[in-house]
Amino acid sequence: MSAPTMPDTARPVLDVQGYSLTYATRTGPFEALKSIDLSVMRGRTMGLVGESGSGKTSLAWAILRYLPANAREGDGRLLLSGEDLRAKSPGEITDLRGRRIGMVFQDPSTSLNPTLTLGRQLTEVLVRHRKHSMTQAKAEAEALLARTGISRPAEMMTRFPHQASGGEKQRVVIATAFACNPECIIFDEPTTALDVITARQIQDLFVRLQEDTGVAALYISHDLALVSRIAHDVAVIHRGAIVEKGPSRQIFATPREDYTRMLLAAVPRPTVRLVTGEPSPQAPAILRLEGATIRYGEKNLIDRLLRREQAEVVGARDVSFALREGEILGIVGESGSGKSTIARAIAGLNDFSGTIALRERIFHARREIDRAFRRNVQIIFQNPDGSLNPRQRIRDILARPLKLYDLVPKTGLDARIAELLEQVRLPRDFAQRYPHQLSGGEKQRVAIARAFAAEPQVVLCDEITSSLDVSVQASVARLLVDLQTRTGATCLFITHDINLVRQLAHRIAVMHRGECVDLFAAADHAAPDRHSYTRLLLDAVPNAAGA
């Protein structure tokens, strides 16, 4: 080990003392970090939890000394085993990175060089920092990869990043981070870009390697449930300041600060149901899909002239299910499983084969879908930044469905808009604002109000909480359930968040590779006849914090 002094169990490996950071922006200085105190001991994992914009990633960049040009550092020290990183020269820092302090970022596809084989990227670190010979490095790299659970390490080393899956790539990045036995490793949302099942495997790998090596880990995440499972200590960061820190168990069981309590309350707990009551089992089906298949890819002129064959992509294959009147049907699945494809087909945005039926009206293709159908089936999109026209005032956005379907007389328009805003708990005077003057959660409320303004029978919710912060997610989910109960509309709720869907759906459909593999009542999630993939999904999700 190259630690300059005797290993000292009493002294933290990573010690941030009173560190402040400000960004110079066009609108004036922005305080990103305010007098941060944080320390990580050897053998411990410190979870750093916060919402987007809280400054958690800024802290990681500061420790690694990758600061943007407009960053102004204030007081404070960043100590690695007692040495101040701020006092080091750029050369010393370069030598230190990867050898004494490692890092694993969110997206493995951007942190690997696409032009080098995975083996080359791993051996490079060993040759440079540990002065191994090439053959030594190769043997060591294979051992490291084997330790991360890659079954054929020698073969994996010859592959390029694009030839490996996201999970495999992240394993290689983790192997690289652990390669030189660093004193400290910073993990910045390492599993956010991966699908749930792979994410779970990577988290288990992290816990195992951390225990084996005793490395001091700083684990940055927005996911409280995850942090409660893998971190020994937790620090909660809010608007650049640490509001609460302590042992994981204590923070999750007896939080002292209001903000921490609010964050914890916002984590979806599958056991706490948001919906009350069930639609009667005799309720008639309102929307039926029978053998719906959606294909992507339309040939262009040149391809047709040259008779070039184009691989056809099937987004969803032979999907059949029925929505009962007044129910919330959840659809879960990984990204690319076809769940949004289905919603877009029902909304008349994707062409389909098979049939979609609304009550007694049956449609066989997208072109048959008419305005009467569209009025009764409304869709809410994932990203509220994109789904509201930036050049229209909220008033005009909400007025459009009312005018289009002729729902209220001209004189009653403003009263109805005020009512709609009130329904989604926004102040009336928001009607005069533009979308960019609203926060993400407020924009999503406007999008919800617009969908319900049409007085639809079916509302399709396509990942409507995914782009929002945890605390906002919970209130938007509650709002939706509340509106659904009041209006009696039927909902199709699409999400990748399994805990959330268990809270608010009456029944849950599971999509996997374009097919609907399972459909069950929310209460029967543990029944023995569940599809093996459903069980895999349910097991992969960490239980809610403190539950």
Partner: protein, 272 residues
């Protein structure tokens, strides 16, 4: 629009534009002499109290000629660009909205046309049609059309895939409403910016054609023509070439900087 004053290059651009536009509007009134007045005794003089920018080979006052020429030069630049923008936008928006093989056909043709440099394109058209201000203007407009078509098509396409347009489609809005209310208002920003910058190229192209004798004809006070006429006397009085040259550069730069600043200001998300 006030934001443009706070934008450093926007301020310079606006000042230059104000100067040039002022000359175009009030030039004829402000000019101290008749631009066509021959003064055989005062040929090729340097700047003096009587002639601020000196006189040319016929003894005509250069300042008066530049002030008179401003209107022709700017009218040419703005007119040619406007024609090109309208033609290009119609073609581009059609391609973007209709899609399918119509889009492929239009765009491949435009790719072919874009391979010909603007100046070569204009020269080709003027050669076929014959010279003169009207033909030169048409030529520049035609040369601008493919580029503008490409830009308007991409503006339409990038907006068309946005979720608010899909939301409108899902709501059952007509194609015409979606185009007029959702797509166009969000794509005019880049079009206006591009058009403003292109005015500067049009001014330069117009001056080039004038210089080559294919645009405005003597005794017009068009700036490019002024340079061409005075070229032989450049060494006896540099001002007769430098003054219209500087005027062209100021106009082109004014439109260019103003367009750049517009690009930054136009984004409503930058507005608070």
């Amino acid at each position: 629009m006030l934001d443009i004053w706070r934008h450093p290059t926007g301020l310079i651009g606006s000042c230059l534009l104000a100067l040039v536009l002022g000359a175009a509007v009030f030039g004829a009134v402000l000019a101290p002499y008749d631009p066509q007045l021959f003064q055989p005794l005062a040929r090729l003089q340097g700047p003096s109290a009587g002639h601020w920018l000196g006189t040319d080979q016929f003894g005509r006052d250069i300042l008066s000629r530049i002030l008179h020429g401003a209107r022709a030069t700017i009218a040419f630049g703005v007119g040619a660009t406007l024609l090109g923008v309208v033609a290009g936008a119609v073609i581009g928006v059609t391609a973007g909205v209709v899609g399918t093989w119509v889009d492929s056909l239009i765009m491949r043709t435009i790719d072919g046309l874009l391979a010909v440099p603007d100046l070569l394109f204009t020269l080709l058209i003027v050669t076929v049609l014959g010279g003169g201000t009207g033909h030169a203007m048409l030529a520049v407009a035609v040369a601008f059309t493919p580029g503008m078509a490409r830009i308007s098509r991409s503006a339409v396409l990038s907006i068309r895939t946005r979720e608010f347009v899909q939301a409108a489609t899902a709501r059952g809005e007509s194609r015409i409403y979606i185009m007029a209310a959702e797509v166009l208002p969000n794509s005019v920003g880049p079009l206006i910016v591009e058009a403003t910058i292109r005015v500067s190229f049009a001014v330069l192209l117009g001056a080039t054609l004038g210089f080559l004798g294919l645009g405005a004809q003597p005794p017009s006070t068009e700036w490019g023509l002024m340079i061409a006429e005075a070229r032989q006397f450049m060494f006896r009085n540099p001002w007769c070439v430098a003054a219209p040259g500087i005027a062209i550069a100021m106009t082109a730069m004014g439109f260019n900087l103003f367009g750049d600043a517009l690009r930054d200001v136009f984004d409503p998300r930058g507005r608070r």
